[in-house]
C-alpha cells in the first residue's frame, strides 16, 4: 500500500506483483523556480532515459549510498513474504529477490534464479531452481522453501498482506487455508530444486506476476510459530535472502549497511558495500548535491525544475505504472453478496453529466503548470507504462468547455442563477472529496472545482485525509452517500488486468459501476484465449474505449518517475526488462561527485 | 562621660520614588554609649527602621548623607568589605520578623555558624558547631543540640527570635541594634526576650539601640529615649524624664493615648489626622503642626531646631511651650474629617 504524502512508485520489481494499489492523488512537496532550465519550464518524459549513461571506467569494489526517500522510518519487516510498506521493499530488493524475473512486458522469463514450464492447459507450472542459488548462510534455496512460503502465507495465522487471489487460485489452497487439509494439494515438491504448482484457472495473468516467487527459508523459519515469524529477529534484525548483497548491520527504521554476497548466483557483485539510509523528502536535494547519497528511489517531480542542471547527477526517468483519476459514485456495495449494486437514480448517473465534467477540465495545463510536464493528460485507464496494452490511438476526452456546456444544455441541466439544476429542476449540488497530502493537493482539487463551476456545476470540495478518504469512498464496503465525485489514484501492478478495480465483485470498484459489456471484456481479458497477446490487446482496447464512453471514472494524469543518480554510478537502470541487475552496479571513483 | 560608642551626626537617608529623592531619615543626630539602651520610638513610618539600616549600612538603594562614628571611626563611607568586617562582629542587628529574617532552606545551626565563620575563620568546623550550640543554649533554647538541626519553620516565633539573637551576639558585638524585636510576639514571650536582652547587656556591656513603638517596652528597657516623628528626632531624654516630664506635643500625645492600667474607663487621647506619607511630608516648618491645629501657628518655629531644655533633654521646635491638650469643643472638630 501507499502512505499518504509521497507518491513514490517502486522502480524495481515489487512483490505486489499483480494489480493495483492506490497512490495519493498529488505528489509530494512543491517547488519550481522562476528560472527553469528548459525555456518554457516544461519537460517531457521522452527526454529521459531509464538507463544510466556509463561515464568512466569501473574501479574495483567501492561503496555507494542509496537514499530511501520517506518522511517516516522504514518498518523493518524485511522479508518479501511479510512486508507491507514500500520502504521495506526498497530495503529488501538489495539483499533478496524473486526466483523469477520478467521482461519489458512483464512476462516471466527463464533468466531468473528459476526457470519454468507451463503445461498445455496452462494450469500447471513446473519450476526448476538453479543449482547455484543459495541462501546467504550457504544453505541451498530449495523447492521445499518455496512450498514453505506458500504454506505460511496460506496459513490462517499468517499476518501479512499476501494472501490474495493468486493464492486462492492454487488448487487445494482454500482447503488448506480453512484448515480442512493438512497440505496444499496443488503444490508438489518434485525434487530438491523442482516444484510443481497447479492452478485452478489458467489466465494470462499467471505469466505476469501471478506466481508467488519468493521462497521462505524453511531451515530458519520452519520451527517458528507462523504468527510470530514477522516479529522474529530473523526478519527484523538479521534478515536473510539470496540476493547480491547481504545485510551487515541495521539501525532500525533508519539505515541498513549491506555487504556484497560473493556467492550470488549471477556472479560476484562489483560493489563491496551498499549503504541504505532513509532521507526525508525535504533533504533529497541537499543530500544529492553533497554526495550524501548516490541515488535515491524516487525524486519529487516538483523539485526537478530547480535542480535539472545539477552537475553531479544524472536524472533517469520512466513512466510510472500509475494514473490519477476522477471517480463518480454510481451505486453501492452490497456486502452480503459481495458485489456492486448500481443505482439507476444516482446523482452522477447521467453519462452526459460525467462527460461534461471530463470535458471541463484542462488536464494538459494541469500537468504543465503544476508538474512541469512530468505529469500529463491521461487518456485511458491503462497507462502507457504498459505499452503493449495502452491504446495510444484512443484520444480520451480533450478539454472543451464549450462542448461541455452544450452537452449539459442539451441534457437539460439548465442554468438557474449561478448554477445549473437537474433536468427535473431540482437543485444540483455535487460533493467532491479529495485527499490531502503535499502542497499541491489542495490547489489541484480546487482547480477542478473551479473548472466545474465554470460550466455551471455547483461542486463542493472537501479535502480529507487518506484514511477518511478511503473510508468514505467505500474501501470497507460502506459507501458514504454524501460523496458524489472523488479524486483518487491507482498504482497499477505489472499485470494489466483491471478487474480488481472495475470488476463487479471488486470492493475497490469505488464507482460501483457495472455493465454487461464491462463484465464480458474483463472476463475475456483473463480467459485462456487471451494468452494470445494480440487478442488480449484487442480486448483491452475495447475495454479502454468502453470506459471512455461510459465514464464511470475518467483518468486525469499519467506520471513520470525520476531517479537522480550520481555520475560515478555505472550499470544502473530503473524500470523493468533492462537486463541490468544490481550486482553489476559499479562506480567510477571512490567518492561521489559533488555539486560544483 | 566617656566617649560615645556610636555617634550619628546629621544623618539623612533618602529613598528614590518616581525619580525623586525623599528623606525618610532627616538630619538625625544621636549617640549611644556603651552599656546603654537607647530606645527609638515613633509611629509606623516615622523612619525608625530606615535609621537602623543606615547605621548598619544595609540600604541598597538609598542615598545616605551625614556621618556615623563607631568607636571613633566614621563608618558612613566605608567600603563594603571594610564594613563587612564590622557587621556581625562589632555591631549586629536583630530583626522584627523572625521568620523571614532566617533563610528558610538552611538549618538554624548553619545560619549561626555562618556568622562565626565569617569573623573567626580560623575556628574548626567542630568548634564552630560547638559554639553555635553554646549560643543556642545561651539564648535560652531548651534542647540546643536538637534545635541546631531544625529549619526555621519548625520553630515557634519566640524560638526563632532567639535564634536571631544568637546570630546577633555570636561574636560579642559592642553595639546591638534591635528593630522591633518583640512586636511579633506574645506578651509572655516578649518578656522573655526582653529579659534575655537585658542579661546580654549586663554580661557584655554592649550598647543597644532598641527600636519599638511600644512605650511599655521602652520604659522597661531603655536608659534613654529618642522620639521620632516623620523622619526627625523630636525629643530625646532619659527614660525617667521622658515618661514624667515629656515636653514635645507628639511625645505627650503618645503617652496620653495608651490605655494604661491606671485610669480606666476614661476616653483616650487621640492624635488628630494621620501620619503623612513620605512623599507628603511637610518639609518646611514644624512637621507636627498639622496635627495640633488648635495651637496657634505662630507657636511653631520656621526652622525647628533641637532645644536643650535640661541637660540631656532635647526637644524640637518651641511649640512645646504653648502646647495644651484640646478642650472638648476642639475635640469635636476632629470628629468629622474632610
Amino acid at each position: 500500500a501507499c502512505s499518504s504524502g509521497n507518491g513514490n512508485e517502486e522502480s524495481s520489481p515489487s512483490a505486489t506483483t499483480e494489480t493495483a494499489t492506490p497512490t495519493s492523488s498529488a505528489s509530494a512537496s512543491p517547488s519550481a523556480s522562476e528560472t527553469p532550465a528548459a525555456e518554457d519550464g516544461l519537460y517531457s518524459i521522452n527526454d529521459f532515459s531509464n538507463v544510466k549513461k556509463n561515464e568512466g571506467e569501473a574501479i574495483k569494489g567501492g561503496s555507494i549510498t542509496f537514499g530511501l526517500v520517506s518522511d517516516t522510518p522504514f518498518e523493518g519487516t524485511l522479508n518479501f513474504n511479510f512486508y507491507s510498506g514500500d520502504p521495506d521493499s526498497q530495503v529488501l530488493s538489495w539483499f533478496d529477490e524473486g526466483l523469477l524475473t520478467w521482461d519489458k512486458s512483464y512476462v516471466y522469463t527463464n533468466d531468473g534464479a528459476a526457470t519454468y514450464e507451463v503445461s498445455e492447459d496452462g494450469k500447471t507450472f513446473t519450476f526448476t531452481i538453479r543449482d547455484n542459488v543459495n541462501w546467504q548462510d550457504g544453505k541451498p534455496v530449495t523447492a521445499e522453501d518455496w512450498l514453505f512460503a506458500h504454506e505460511v502465507i496460506g496459513n490462517p495465522k499468517y499476518d501479512g498482506p499476501r494472501y490474495d487471489s493468486n493464492f486462492t487460485n492454487i488448487v487445494g489452497m482454500a482447503e488448506y487455508h480453512d484448515g480442512k487439509a493438512k497440505t496444499i494439494s496443488g503444490i508438489e515438491v518434485l525434487s530438491e530444486k523442482k516444484l510443481k504448482i497447479t492452478y485452478i484457472q489458467s489466465t494470462p495473468s499467471l505469466l505476469t506476476g501471478g506466481v508467488w516467487s519468493y521462497p521462505l527459508a524453511k531451515h530458519i523459519f520452519g520451527v517458528m510459530d507462523v504468527a510470530k515469524i514477522s516479529a522474529s529477529p530473523e526478519v527484523r534484525e538479521k534478515p536473510i535472502g539470496f540476493g547480491p548483497f547481504k545485510v551487515k548491520s541495521i539501525v532500525p527504521g533508519e539505515s541498513v549497511v549491506f555487504e556484497k554476497n560473493p556467492d550470488y548466483w549471477r556472479g560476484e557483485p562489483a560493489l563491496d558495500e551498499v549503504v541504505l539510509k532513509v532521507i526525508n523528502p525535504t533533504t533529497i536535494v541537499q543530500q544529492l548535491e553533497t554526495g550524501g547519497v548516490d541515488l535515491v528511489d524516487s525524486f519529487p517531480v516538483d523539485q526537478y525544475p530547480d535542480n535539472a542542471t545539477l552537475s553531479n547527477v544524472e536524472f533517469l526517468g520512466t513512466i510510472d505504472r500509475a494514473y490519477t483519476y476522477m471517480g463518480f459514485k454510481l451505486g453501492k456495495w452490497d456486502a452480503e453478496a459481495g458485489k456492486v449494486v448500481p443505482d439507476a437514480k444516482a446523482k452522477m448517473g447521467d453519462v452526459n453529466l460525467r462527460k461534461a465534467m471530463w470535458l471541463a477540465v484542462d488536464n494538459d495545463q494541469v500537468g504543465k503548470k503544476f508538474y512541469h510536464g512530468l505529469r500529463w493528460n491521461a487518456t485511458t485507464l491503462i497507462p502507457p507504462s504498459h505499452p503493449e496494452y495502452h491504446d495510444s490511438t484512443n484520444p480520451g476526452v480533450a478539454y472543451d468547455p464549450e462542448m461541455a456546456n452544450k452537452i449539459l444544455d442539451d441534457a437539460g441541466y439548465k442554468m438557474d442563477g449561478k448554477f445549473r439544476t437537474n433536468p427535473d429542476g431540482s437543485e444540483l449540488v455535487i460533493n467532491f472529496i479529495s485527499m490531502t497530502g503535499g502542497d499541491i493537493a489542495q490547489p489541484l482539487a480546487q482547480y477542478y472545482v473551479q473548472s466545474w463551476q465554470a460550466i455551471g456545476l455547483n461542486v463542493q470540495l472537501e479535502m480529507v485525509e487518506f484514511n477518511s478518504f478511503y473510508d468514505r469512498v467505500g474501501a470497507n464496503g460502506e459507501d458514504d452517500p454524501k460523496v458524489d465525485v472523488y479524486q483518487g489514484a491507482w498504482s497499477v501492478g505489472i499485470d494489466v488486468d483491471p478487474s480488481g478495480l472495475y470488476g463487479k465483485d471488486a470492493i475497490y470498484n469505488f464507482p460501483r459501476y457495472e455493465s454487461a459489456e464491462n463484465d464480458r471484456l474483463l472476463a475475456e481479458g483473463i480467459s485462456e484465449k487471451a494468452f494470445d497477446v494480440k487478442v488480449r490487446q484487442d480486448i483491452y482496447k475495447q475495454w479502454q474505449k468502453l470506459m471512455v464512453d461510459e465514464i464511470p471514472v475518467f483518468p486525469t494524469l499519467y506520471r513520470a518517475v525520476l531517479a537522480p543518480v550520481n555520475k560515478r554510478i555505472l550499470n544502473y537502470a530503473i524500470g523493468d526488462g533492462t537486463n541490468l541487475y544490481p550486482y553489476q552496479i559499479a562506480v567510477s571513483q571512490d567518492k561521489p561527485f559533488v555539486k560544483e | 562621660m566617656n566617649e560615645a560608642l556610636l555617634q550619628i551626626e546629621h544623618l539623612t537617608t533618602s529613598f528614590r520614588i518616581a525619580d525623586q529623592y525623599y528623606a525618610a531619615v532627616d538630619d538625625v543626630t544621636l549617640s549611644v554609649r556603651e552599656n546603654e539602651v537607647l530606645a527609638i520610638v515613633g509611629e509606623s513610618g516615622s523612619g525608625k527602621s530606615a535609621l537602623a539600616y543606615s547605621i548598619m549600612g544595609l540600604h541598597t538603594r538609598a542615598k545616605t548623607e551625614g556621618d556615623i562614628y563607631f568607636n571613633g571611626h566614621n563608618i558612613a563611607r566605608l567600603s563594603p568589605s571594610k564594613l563587612n568586617k564590622l557587621r556581625g562582629k562589632d555591631m549586629s542587628m536583630i530583626f522584627q520578623d523572625p521568620l523571614s529574617a532566617l533563610n528558610p532552606l538552611m538549618i538554624v545551626g548553619a545560619q549561626i555558624e555562618e556568622v562565626i565563620l565569617l569573623h573567626q575563620p580560623k575556628l574548626s568546623r567542630k568548634d564552630r558547631a560547638d559554639k553555635a550550640v553554646e549560643l543556642l543554649a545561651k539564648v535560652g533554647i531548651p534542647r540546643p543540640e536538637h534545635t541546631y538541626g531544625r529549619y526555621p519553620h519548625e520553630l515557634s516565633g519566640g524560638m526563632r527570635q532567639r535564634v536571631i539573637i544568637a546570630i546577633a551576639i555570636a561574636n560579642g558585638p559592642k553595639l546591638l541594634i534591635a528593630d522591633e524585636p518583640t512586636t511579633a510576639l506574645d506578651v509572655t514571650i516578649q518578656l522573655q526576650i526582653l529579659e534575655l536582652l537585658r542579661k546580654l547587656k549586663a554580661d557584655s556591656k554592649a550598647g543597644i539601640v532598641l527600636i519599638t513603638h511600644d512605650l511599655g517596652v521602652v520604659s522597661e528597657m531603655a536608659d534613654r529615649v529618642a522620639v521620632m516623628y516623620a523622619g526627625q528626632i523630636v525629643e530625646i531624654a532619659d527614660i525617667y524624664t521622658l515618661i514624667s516630664k515629656a515636653r514635645h506635643p507628639y511625645t505627650r500625645s503618645l503617652l496620653q493615648s495608651i490605655p494604661t492600667a491606671g485610669e480606666t474607663k476614661s476616653r483616650l487621647h487621640v492624635i488628630q489626622g494621620i501620619v503623612p506619607s513620605l512623599q507628603n511630608l511637610p518639609r518646611q516648618g514644624c512637621r507636627f503642626r498639622s496635627r495640633i491645629p488648635w495651637i496657634d501657628e505662630s507657636a511653631h518655629e520656621e526652622q525647628p531646631i533641637m532645644h536643650e531644655i535640661a541637660p540631656g533633654h532635647w526637644v524640637r521646635c518651641s511649640c512645646y511651650k504653648h502646647f495644651r491638650f484640646p478642650d472638648s469643643k476642639e475635640e469635636e472638630l476632629r470628629h468629622v474629617l474632610p
Binding site: - | 506574645d186 512605650l215 500625645s253 503618645l254 490605655p259 494604661t260 492600667a261 487621640v270 474629617l337
Partner: protein, 311 residues
Amino acid sequence: MSFLEVRDLKVHFPNRGGLFSRKTQPIKAVDGIHFDIEQGQTYGLVGESGSGKTTTGRAIIGLNSITSGSVTFEGRQLTSGDLQRQGAFRRDIQMIFQDPYSSLNPKKRVLDIISEPLRNFERLSASEEKARVQQLLEQVGLSPESILKYPHEFSGGQRQRIGIARAIALKPKLIIADEPVSALDVSVQAQVLNFMRDIQKEFNLTYLLISHDLGIVRHMCDQIGIMYKGRYVEQGTTDDIFDNPQHIYTKRLISAIPDIDPTKREEKYKFREEVRTEYELAYGNYFGEDGLAYPLKPISETHFVALPGRG
C-alpha cells in the same frame, strides 16, 4: 437567662492532608468553654496566640462550625452552617475584623461596602440606601462625601471605622470584635477604642472583645475570660482578674505586661521573679496531665478559676 450563653463549646478541626488522608487527632482549637454575656456589657477574651480566641468568636457568629456544645443568643440556639439561611436573626450579631486592610474589599467603593448588609436584609431604594450609608458614615465620623471613595484612600483608623459602620448598619445587638485595633498605631488605636465605646452607649451594644493586649482589655471590658489551649483558665470581672488573679497562668500573663512607669522596674522584676518561681513550682497543680486546664470552679460570685478538685 443571659443575653448570650455559650455552653461547653467545642470546635475541632480535622487534621488531614491528601486524598486518602488518614484521620489523625483533630486540632482542638476550642475545647469546651462556657460563658455568659449580659446585654450592654463588654466581654474580653484574652489568651496567647493560638489559644482559640478567634475560633470562639467565629464559631459564635457562625463562620466556624461547632463540633459540640451550644450557643444561645437571646434564648434562641444558634446553629452553625449556612449563615444566610438563618436570615433575620443573624443580623443581630455582627463582627469587626482585625485587619482593616483585608476586611474591606479593595475593589468596592465605600457605598457598596457599607450597603452590603442593607442590600441583603432590607429592601431600600437607591436613594434611601445612599442616605442610610451617609448617615452611617457620619455616625462613625467620616464625611458623607466619602461614599464614592475606595478603601485604599483611607487611613487604617478610618478604614476600621468603615468596618464598624458596616457592622452597625443593621443595628446589631452583639458585636464580636476580633483584635479590632492590633493592626493600628497607638494613636489610631485610641481613636477606634474611643469610638467603640461611644457607639456602645448610643446603641446599647454588647461586645465580645478578643484581644491579647491586656491593657486594652482592661480599659474596655467589664468581664474577662482567659483562654489557654482552647480552654478557660479563669473568668471574672476586670477587677477580679487584674487585682486578684488566681490561676498561675493569669498571673504570669498579667505580670508580663510591660509597665509604663520606669520607676517601678525593680518592683516589677521582683514580682515577675516570684510569679515565675511559682509557675515552675506549681505548674502541676494548675494543669492536668495533658497540660490542659481543669474545668472552672467558682471562687466568688463573679470569679471562676480552673482548678483541680478544689471548691
